[in-house]
Amino acid sequence: MLNQWLYIGIFVVISVFLPGVAILLARILSPKKPNAIKNSVYECGVETFDKTWIQFRIQYYLYALVFLIFDVETVFLFPFAVAYNQVPLFMVMEAIIFIAILMGGFLYIWRKGALTWR
């Protein structure tokens, strides 16, 4: 069992190691001659004109919320999809009902305009 996870573990270690080395090497090798202009805060090459931590639009939260719901739906449907070949039609209908109930909610929020960016 652990051998399967060893691959994932190796990838996790590499994925932490590579950016860590890149940041550390840059810190060691780079010359340090700071001045006021170099240390100033900038975004995309231009100077910032407001505070960095601003309040974001509520629309992002709505999208994340809808994403979370359909993420959980996927979690429920994935084991069913794996077992799809081995279950009778009656059980497939149950999964269709499961999707249909959520499809109703999806159509509702679509009609309500929650998915359009304003």
Partner: protein
């Protein structure tokens, strides 16, 4: 100590450490980032138990969606990012005392149960069979068909309620 024990202890320590960081850091945004690490530790504990599906779900739902939702919530909230809020109040000593007393009572009660010291039996399913069994259990009428459909209604309620509350009604 076997290799598995070393792996378990290191992941458990990682989980506990990042969980402590979540509740003790003043900056809410950093706390949310530590929460991601804590959830990743939980996922690795699931993986060590052989519950690969739950490990994947933990990463997919908790890190992929819930932690992102929390980070969005922090970014959406005005003025909560400042570091002036303290994490403790006057009753923290009493709280530590009470929590540790309750912890030892619970541990004492559980350890008197006969199943506590019994070693876990080997999992009979291997590889993909766990997900197959789970999928069949979800939709079979003798299994969890009704909870499965109820979960759909619950998700519908969460979807509608969340969208209804979060939607900007001023511009309709």
């Amino acid at each position: 100590m076997s290799v598995q024990q070393v792996i378990f202890i290191s992941f458990a320590l990682l989980t506990v450490f990042s969980a402590i960081m979540v509740v003790s850091l003043r900056n809410l945004f950093h706390a949310a980032l530590w929460l991601v690490l804590a959830l990743l530790g939980i996922a690795s504990l699931f993986a060590l138990l052989g519950a690969s599906f739950f490990a994947a779900v933990q990463i997919l739902v908790y890190i992929g969606a819930i932690a992102i939702l929390l980070i969005f919530a922090v970014m959406l909230t005005r003025n909560i990012m400042s570091d002036e809020v303290t994490q403790t109040n006057r009753a923290w000593g009493l709280a530590v005392l009470l929590v540790s007393v309750i912890f030892f009572i619970i541990i004492g009660q559980i350890s008197s149960w006969s199943g506590f010291s019994q070693p876990l039996s080997e999992f009979t399913y291997t590889g993909q069979e766990t997900i197959l069994a789970l999928g069949k259990g979800f939709v079979s009428p003798s299994g969890f068909a009704l909870p499965f459909e109820t979960a759909s209604v619950l998700l519908l309620a969460a979807l509608l309620g969340g969208v209804y509350i979060a939607m900007d009604k001023g511009k309709e």
